[in-house]
Structure formats: structure tokens, C-alpha cells
Subunit: 322 residues, 3 copies
């Protein structure tokens, strides 16, 4: 990001390793200063009076609050709606482009957009660019959710101290889950990354991702059961650093037997096979795919992950609105 003006946050691919390093340094600085006694006071003026619109075509209160809190901690004002589908309702039918065009007329500094169609953020950015208004993609359908991928990577960096030479299990519904796919793209930029995909056969990671990994020479394996992956790894020296877990919706499995479903649930017993400095991540919300009793395990990093997310978003806002 050095020297280059980055106006919009649309896809994880727009960040190269140097961009990411700078972003993570800025995030570190933000966290340190903010947690010090004078933190909030020091930060407030940086983006004082700037205006954020949060435009959510599908409700995601968690993500909306993360962005709104990030903005407010930096001194910004926020106007938002969970109800943006009203723009494009049958009666009032308006294109996304028209909606963004009108919103830009109200002179926000940034529009955080959550939309149900892949590519929506990029379409919005074409409009925003003309008005000098930044667009942040907060998830567009099956497309991208770049701030989630960045916060996932930051969590690994923060918790393990590195993003090279790591072995990562990604598990759950890898066919439909947006977060695991995006993280894989980011991880493929790093050296010595090894991946193990764990999912029911019908929910395997897509061929596009596998091609991408082969092209970037990232080693990966596929397993059906987490325990197999863990025991296999154990023989190699308990070498798994990260378990990134997501939900398998039972209705998507072909054989959703009780025992089978249980295989996609992380329990203290499962945790006992992980080494002491490994971490367990999850994009949240968690339903029952991680047992509540795991929460007290210091390796359970999923709530800290949500917290890092807000700081990553603060750093991004400061970068694009500076």
C-alpha cells in the first residue's frame, strides 16, 4: 500500500504480501495504542467527522457491528440499514448501480456493502470511483469477503507469530463456505504452507481451488474425517498448527447419520490430539460444530479472531480514508 492509493477493498487478491505486511503492522499499532489508557483519545481524531454508510442487502448484524464499531472508534459517523433489499424490491425495483449512485450523492466517505450477488462490490466500486467514495466488500454472495480473509490471516500471524511454514487443517463445508476458500487463496501466497482439507465427500473443496494450489505449488491433502487427519499428522510429529473449522449443514450431507455428523464436531477429546501451541479458528457464528466445553481451551482462538477483525477493519479504514 506504500505510495499507492488504495481506494476500495473488493477482493483478497488485490493485496500482495507487502500490502498485507503493512496492513498487519498498522493493525498491531492500532491495537497497542487503543488498549493503552489514552488509546481511544489518541485515535479519535484520525478520521473525525468522516461518514460511513453500511448498506446490507442481507442482514449480518455481526459484520455490520464490527465495521460500525471500527468506524466509531476512529471518530467516524455511521448511518446504516439491514434492510437494503427494499431498494430493489419488486415495487420500487432499482439497480444496485442506481442505489450506489444516489448514495454517493449524499457524500459519504465510504460505503460498506453486503450483497447477495457475486461481483456486486466491484460493480459498486465503478460508481464509487467516479465520486471519490470508497467501497468495502463485506461479502457478496458466493464471491468474496476480503476483510474476513485478512482477519483470518492476521489471527494466524498474531497467534502463531508467522504465516510461512504452517500446516493448516480446513474443515467443514468446503464446497459452499466462502471463508475457507478465501483464506486458502491468501495462504497460497506464503512459503511452506501445507493444507489438509477435511469434509464429507459431497462437500469437498472446488476444483478451481485445487488448480490454484497446484499452480502455486502448495501441498495439500484431502480427508473425510478430522480424526484421520489428526492421527495421520500425529505420526508426522503432531505438526498441525491451525484447525480452521466451519459448519457442515446436515441437510447438505448425503448420509447425515448421527455418528457421521458427530465426526464434524470438535470436542475436548479431539483437542487432545492437537499440540499445545496449535490454534482452533472458526469464522462464527458457531452452532454445535464446536462443543461449548472447548471455549475454555486456550487454543480456542475464535473469539479473539472476532476481536482482531475489528482492528484489521480499523487499519483498513485508516488506510483507504487517509
Amino acid at each position: 500500500m506504500k505510495g499507492v492509493v488504495m481506494r476500495h477493498i473488493l477482493r483478497s487478491q488485490q493485496f500482495n504480501r507487502t500490502d498485507i505486511e503493512e496492513l498487519f503492522k498498522a493493525t498491531d499499532t492500532m491495537r497497542k495504542a487503543f488498549k493503552s489508557s489514552l488509546g481511544r483519545v489518541q485515535f479519535r481524531p484520525r478520521l473525525l467527522g468522516k461518514l460511513m454508510f453500511t448498506i446490507f442487502y442481507e442482514p449480518s448484524t455481526r459484520t455490520r457491528f464490527s465495521f460500525a464499531a471500527a468506524a466509531i472508534h476512529l471518530g467516524m459517523r455511521v448511518v446504516g440499514t439491514d434492510n437494503a433489499r427494499e431498494f430493489s424490491s419488486a415495487i420500487k425495483g432499482e439497480t444496485l448501480e442506481d442505489t450506489i449512485e444516489v448514495l454517493c450523492q449524499y457524500l459519504p466517505d465510504v460505503i460498506v456493502l453486503r450483497h447477495h450477488e457475486a461481483g456486486a462490490a466491484e460493480r459498486a466500486a465503478l460508481i464509487g470511483e467516479r465520486h471519490g467514495v470508497s467501497i468495502i466488500n463485506a461479502g457478496d454472495g458466493k464471491g468474496q469477503h476480503p476483510t474476513q480473509a485478512l482477519l483470518d490471516l492476521y489471527t494466524i500471524k498474531q497467534e502463531l507469530g508467522r504465516t510461512d511454514d504452517i500446516k493448516v487443517v480446513l474443515g467443514g463445508d468446503l464446497a459452499n463456505g466462502r471463508t475457507a476458500r478465501s483464506l486458502v487463496y491468501l495462504l497460497s501466497k506464503y512459503k511452506g504452507v501445507r493444507l489438509i482439507f477435511v469434509s464429507p465427500p459431497e462437500l469437498r473443496i472446488g476444483g478451481d481451488i485445487k488448480s490454484h494450489l497446484i499452480e502455486h505449488k502448495v501441498r495439500f491433502e484431502e480427508e473425510t474425517f478430522l480424526l484421520d487427519a489428526l492421527l495421520h499428522a500425529e505420526t508426522l510429529g503432531r505438526d498441525i498448527d491451525v484447525v480452521y473449522w466451519t459448519r457442515v449443514q446436515r441437510e447438505r450431507m448425503e448420509n447425515p447419520g448421527a455418528n457421521f455428523g458427530e465426526s464434524y464436531r470438535i470436542t475436548p477429546e479431539i483437542m487432545s490430539h492437537l499440540k499445545q501451541d496449535a490454534i482452533l479458528m472458526h469464522p462464527l457464528p458457531r452452532v454445535d460444530e464446536i462443543a461449548k466445553e472447548v471455549d475454555s481451551d486456550p487454543r480456542a482462538a475464535y473469539f479473539r479472531q472476532a476481536g482482531y477483525g475489528m482492528y484489521v477493519r480499523m487499519a483498513l479504514l485508516q488506510e483507504i480514508l487517509k
Copy 2:
């Protein structure tokens, strides 16, 4: 509250008489300063830059606006949702504990929570406590709504000048109404309080409340018709100080005849039986259980009651976030 740090507002019972006295003094100060020409300017800095989340699992725009306005008048920022059920929707299913844990990661100073399950606020406070985030119960199902009870008591104090030695009629749906029940608990702390419960037989106040009153030696009677209570009182010297009225939903009555329903409607005729310095209260919203023509009666205190509520909430915020 002197000397003791009070972090959360969960139940009316957490306040003893001294706490309440101090809270009411702080509320008085707030009102006086705020109403003076420089009021708003003087207040703004007290909680400047603090952040409130309003998390409402069931919409209650009235209560949400009261808290938001209280916060804003004190210089705070507010991010809110009426749509918090989305957190725990069938698809995304997340426990209240997880939701609060994630929201705390975004570093609010206080979370105002409205939930449909009794005990929700106490569960949330267990999480908030770990993060130094205050939780305010803005109504949890059939459980508590402590700021409502406090504002009701403040209204009595303010309008009558005292909270001891008062005779209070509580009427309407006493079986299901949360507000009347909570107020009774608070009133039982005071001396010389006498209560008359007025309700259809099937909507009588619960046995738990009666036991509580007997234990605390609070005198009470039960009547089916308000007019009987008033005429009876009249012979004793028109001694009723407060009529606290709530709605009887006709569908809950066993004999919802037109005349019967009319008995639970306050009219100018009914008001003529009350003494000049009595007051009529109502938690609002009012439907037709108080005739519109009563509004111009100076004893109709229900709108002032809503106004006092905002000041009580300002005083509480200042207390717990100081």
C-alpha cells in the same frame, strides 16, 4: 452505589434504598442542568466517545430510543439493531452467550439488551463482566425490566414528593404484566405503602408477589372493579395517591363483555373520584384503556413518566460508566 462499583443493571432487587436515593438525586441534578440554557453543553463531555450497543431481540422502538437519546445527550455514540433475532435464527443459530462474547470483542462500553427469555440479561452479564462491558437489562421476557421499575418509582417520588406512606392502585392485567409486578417489588422496600390490586379474576397478581408482600408486611387488597376500589377508598378519605394502570387484553378475559371491558377503561368520570393531588400512571403504549380526554387532566402523569425515564437512564449510564 456510594463507593461500590455497579457495573450492570439486571434486576430491580439489586438496588437498596440508599442506592435508589442516590440515583434519584443524580437524576434530579441531570434534569436541572439539562433544562438550563447551558445544560446540554455541560453534559456532553461526561461520557464523550463512549460506545453503546442496543441489541433488541424483539423490537421496542420506544425503549430503544429512550436509551439511545439518553446516551447521545451524554455524548456517547450508539449502534443498534431491532433485528437481533437474526443472530439466533434457525439457519445461523448462535447462543446468546456467543453473541455477547463477539459483541464484547468490538469494545463497546455498554450493551443494552432486550430479549424474549427471562434470565437473558444475567447470562449476558457473566460474559460482559469478563470484558469490562456493562450490561443493561431492557426487558427479558417475563423476567425483569429494572429501568422501567426505577423510572416508575422516580415518577412517584417526583410527582408526590415521597415514596413512603402512599396508597397505590395497580390495575389491569396483573398476571402477565411485567411492569406492575416489578414496581410492586420496589415499593415493598418503603414504609407505610398500601396496595390495591384491581383486575379481572383470571388476571390476578401472582401468588409469589402476595407471599413477598406478606413477608415484607405490606398491606394489600384485591378488587375486581376499579370503581369499587375508588368508592371504598373514598369512604376512607379519598386516600389513593397513585393509580398505575395497564392494559387488559380482552382476549385474555373469560367474560369479555362490552360492559366488563369498559370497567377497565379510565375516563374523566373515573378521574372525578380521585383526589386533586393523586396521579395516574401507565407504562405506555396506551391503547384505549385510558380515554384520550384524560390526557389534559394535570393528574395524568404518563407522558411525564416517559420523560423522567430518559433522565433516570442518563443517571444510570453516568453511574455505571463513570
Copy 3:
């Protein structure tokens, strides 16, 4: 507005020519200062700390954001809801008057109200007046939407440089469209205004408007097809200055044949019949009654119109809250 305190914005008719001139001057000043590098900084303090409630009984995110952004650019705080029908839901049933009375107790400076019933804003203003709280009508059913009419007129002034001696085509659903009707009322205050109404026979402008125009000696014609109006005008010297277009809902037409529907769609071909300094306006949202290809025509003024709208609202806020 000179010398007179104008507290509420309820109907376009409350503004005389002098008021409008002053409002437009204030809007010009606002735009110039705001667009300069120091603009935002200079403006912020004017209404610093004032509080706006946006109370929308029917969602209109576009209008709500326009008011909220206007307020925030002036330093105000905003609390809002799209969900105000909850106030008057079957279960909680509360009159508009009670709702406004309660909201005024929370000490906002202004309430922006969108309601489904004509006359709602005037009823709200009777309550607001008692509390010194301004009410702004942001659309009440088939009634008024005065800030829309003012921004439409400001757009004409700004784009053409005058509001006298203009020829305006108003087209689309003139029977049900609130915006075209309101604009006609405002235009009738000016000299040398000539109107051409274009609509399917069943969606003609109302007799009340025609009587008003006759009384005020404003010349008008009626046509069924825009092309006829344009070609007719062309023989008179391509004298049309403004085309104000709105949507015809096909289900409201008696003969909604494809070709007929096409006649109510503005295309580049239609634009070719307009003179170079004419403008095309639309209250938005636009569905397909203006072809997307028209957007790049410099005469397409509809998005600028939305932008002017925010400034007009800023000027109004500054006027009524000064």
C-alpha cells in the same frame, strides 16, 4: 423566512416565493462551502450536538439516508427506525399522537416523519409545537412530500438558471404520483410557466390540480404520448426546458400493450428531440422508464437532483433549528 421563525416543514404551500428564494440562497452557500476543502470543517459546528429522530412508518432508505447525511454533515446526531409501524401494530396499538408525545419527551430537536396517512405530519406538528420540537414531513401517504418538491424546484433553478418562463413536461402516472403533483403546486407560483401533462388517459392529472392552475392562470395542455408533446413543441421552436418523468405502473394501465408501455420509456431517440439546454428529471427510484443509456447524456439531471436534495435538506435544517 426572514424574521419569521419557521419551526416545521409540513406542506410546500407554506413557502412563499421569498421564502423559497432565501432557502435556495442558503442552499447555494451550503454547497459552495461544503465543496471547498475546508467545507466540512466549517459546517460541522453549526448544529453540533443537535438530535434528529427519523421515524419511518414505511421504509424509504433513500430518503432516510438523505436526511441522516444532511444532519450528520451539519454535526447533528441521528437515531432512526425503518420499523415505526411497530408502534401502531395490532398488539401494541398506539396512536401517532401518543408516539410523537413520547418521542418528544426524549428531547430531540427535530423529528423527520414518514407516514402512510395523509395529514400525519400536521397531526405530529401539533404535538411537536408544544414541546419545541420541529417536525419535518418526509412524505405522508398521498399527501405531501414538501422537501421533494423543494429539491425539484431547486434542481430547475440550478440547472436552468431560472424558475420563471419555463416550459415543463410532466409525465407518467399523474393520477397517483405525489411528486409531480407537489411540483405543479410550487411551479404555479412562478411567471410564464407552461405545463404539458403526458399520461395514459386513465392516469391523467386530477381535476383539483387543473382547477388550481386555471385559478392561477397557468397555461397547460394534456397529451397521451410524449412524442406527440415533443413534436408539437418542436414546431413551436423546441421550447421544452424540463421533462419531469415518473414511472407508469403497467398494472394501472387499461391497455398495457407492449408498444403502449414503450411509449412511456425515455430513450436516446426521445432525447434527440430535446434541445441542448433542456434537462431530464426523475424523483427516483427509476426502474425501466428511463433507459440506462440516457444516463451519460449531460441533460440527464436525475442523479444531480438527488444530490441537490441533500443540500436543500441541510439548508432547511439550518433554517428551522437555528
